[in-house]
């Protein structure tokens, strides 16, 4: 059921051979997935840079995992429901959340949490593995309501240790729901390597405990990811029940901008994985198949840069939200107590403004005197 990792790696190395040009994916779709990977990487790098410059909060980069992000998003249909983690900004934006919304979110701005009404993406899960029961439940609702919709939950290798992973998988198996559980096995949970996470050989094989299929794919190969997810989504939509997919991947950067990966990973290891970088790999393939040239590459980079830059501009231009918004959306209707506290906050802010004005005036007077 699950292929050993070496086999996966070997298979990957032949992927750019001409005879491997996929018959099941259109040229346009291949090119589009490439563009998307480039865009996601740009987004990711700029977020890290913004954080370093103090213009963004803690950010969890996904560089290295773009094949997963893009493969997953492209295999989903618009009506399918995505349950992401903090590391899935790529998949989230490709499934429909505007880029600047994500940037606002990572900048600690409540309006960044707003997902457009017609976009089936759930708020990114921060507590590990808790999104998996949600995905199971959403898939179950689709089944019970007879709606053609699949729910896909993203999670990491570390998440497979939490109780909620087990519980979600087990429920999904029992109720045979149209769910896909997609594990980005990037080999680490912060600093903890997979060998300390589980004694099981693969994560895919854990599906056997739940009575459904587990598959393993090369998570650096967007085509492989896309195919595996598409097959799982189709199977789910046709009543075939859930699938667990384990994608072997790697994050090139830190766990988050607060992390220092040199404490727990060797440069050699990172280099090895860099050699499997999903972006150059697909680029090589596209070139080999006559679908890509330097001009397109340059245009693509420029376009991605423009997109990301304009999202940053939009994010930075967005007016600061009124802080009293913190009292909205706690209950459908604000309670009397919350209204009182809201007034207290507003009064305090008003006094603060007055005090600042007075201080300013005093300072100006002082200044005038000198």
């Amino acid at each position: 059921m699950a292929r050993p990792v070496e086999q996966v790696k070997r298979a990957s190395n032949q992927l750019h051979a001409a005879e491997n040009k996929p018959g099941d994916i259109s040229d346009a779709a291949l090119v589009e997935m490439y563009r998307q990977m480039v865009m996601v990487r740009q987004f990711d790098r700029r977020c890290v840079a913004l954080q370093r410059a103090g213009r963004m909060g803690t950010y969890p980069p996904c560089e290295g995992q773009e094949a997963c992000q893009v493969g997953v998003a492209n295999a989903l249909r618009p009506q399918d429901f995505l349950f992401p983690t903090y590391r899935d900004s790529g998949a989230v934006m490709l499934h429909g959340v505007p880029m600047e919304r994500l940037m606002l979110y990572w900048n600690g701005r409540p309006e960044g949490a707003v997902i457009p009404d017609d976009v089936n993406v759930f708020p990114m899960a921060v507590p590990i593995a808790t999104q998996l029961p949600h995905a199971m439940g959403a898939a179950w609702a689709a089944k019970l309501r007879g709606v053609d919709q699949v729910a896909l939950g993203l999670f990491g290798d570390g998440a497979s240790s939490e109780g909620d992973f087990h519980v979600a998988m087990n429920f999904a198996g029992v109720f045979h729901v149209p769910a896909v559980f997609f594990c980005q096995n990037n080999q680490y949970a912060i600093s903890v390597p997979l060998s300390r996470q589980t004694a099981s050989e693969t994560i895919a094989q854990k599906a056997q405990a739940y009575g459904f299929e587990g598959v393993r794919v090369d998570g650096c190969d967007v085509i492989a990811v896309y195919r595996a997810v598409k097959a799982a989504v189709e199977k789910a939509a046709q009543g075939g029940g859930p699938t667990l997919i384990e994608a072997l991947t790697y994050r090139y950067g830190a766990h988050t901008t607060s992390d220092d990966p040199t404490k727990y990973r060797t440069a050699e290891e990172t280099d090895t994985w860099r050699k499997r970088d999903p972006i150059p790999r697909l680029q090589e393939q596209l070139r080999a198949w006559g679908l890509w040239d330097d001009e397109q590459e340059n245009a693509c980079l420029t376009e991605a840069d423009a997109l990301v830059s304009s999202a940053i501009a939009a994010m930075e231009a967005a007016p600061t939200p009124p802080p009293e918004k913190m009292f909205d959306h706690i209950y459908k209707e604000p309670t009397a107590k919350l209204q009182r506290q809201r007034d207290e906050l507003l009064a305090m802010l008003e006094r603060r403004k007055q005090a600042e004005l007075e201080q300013g005036a005093a300072a100006r007077t002082e200044g005038g005197k000198q």
Partner: protein, 326 residues
Amino acid sequence: MSRLTLVQAVQDALREAMRKDERIILLGEDIGKNGGVFRATDGLFEEFGEHRVIDTPLAESGIIGASVGLAVNGLRPIPEIQFMGFIYPAFEQMISHVARIRMRSQGRYSVPMVVRVPFGGRIRAPELHSESTETFFAHTPGLTVVAPSSPYDAKGLLLAATESEDPVVFLEPMRIYRAFREEVPEGWYTVPLGKAAVVKEGADVTVIAWGTMLRETLDVVSRVEAAQGVSIEVIDLRTLSPWDEDTVFESVVKTGRAVVVHEAVGQLGLGAEIAARISEECILQLEAPVARVSSFDVPTPLFAVEDLHAPTPERITAGIEKVLTF
């Protein structure tokens, strides 16, 4: 109209709600064929079938976590947790998601669900079947916490809870599931969430209770009134969070004295918040410090001594006398 026990009233409300709203489904452990360990869902499996009355695997975080997904995707789950002491595996889902999805998504998603949880002690059950930890939920913004004390209210509050767009933790006082019957109207009616009830008017002291303690308190109150020639007002809080400050304050302003009775332990039991709020808001009218009568500050002991752990009539009496004679 028929005379129902509290657990029958719960069942009646569930049936009524499921008939009216197709989106409602029940899920939990042993609620199907078995009708629930307290028989609260008896007959519903037969009437609504296995797709609306669903036995789940034994995992509370699955029950609540799946309910989040069910609720955001168009259904109205009413999960049952078998006993309050067994909601803890679902605690992360309750605190980090159920209570916050509306806020986390800035209103895009909400998770209307009614989490039914039998609570309280003194049914001679084994360990950990006697929890009164409403504090955990009342301390958590975003949750509505309800505890009926009678069959009539149980049905009306539960129907109101099914209409709420916010998640409701619905605490059912299992000690009085079958303790008495009451006239319960057929069909649909609601008792509003967030409103306490003055169940007995009085002039000299206000006693606040809920759930199982309400009737035990009323018994004590009538004895104290008879013995001491005083007049006591009794408030059934009904909704524990957000609770009805107006009704409580109005009463205490009138009587000048207050006692809170609950089965939770004292330290940080809901009585602490009520006492603190009364002291903040009614200080000028208050003629004695607010008294709290609660379970002792130890975990519920094995059942041979559990009755002495909870407030006894003597301790409730002492609480009332203390504020009267201050």
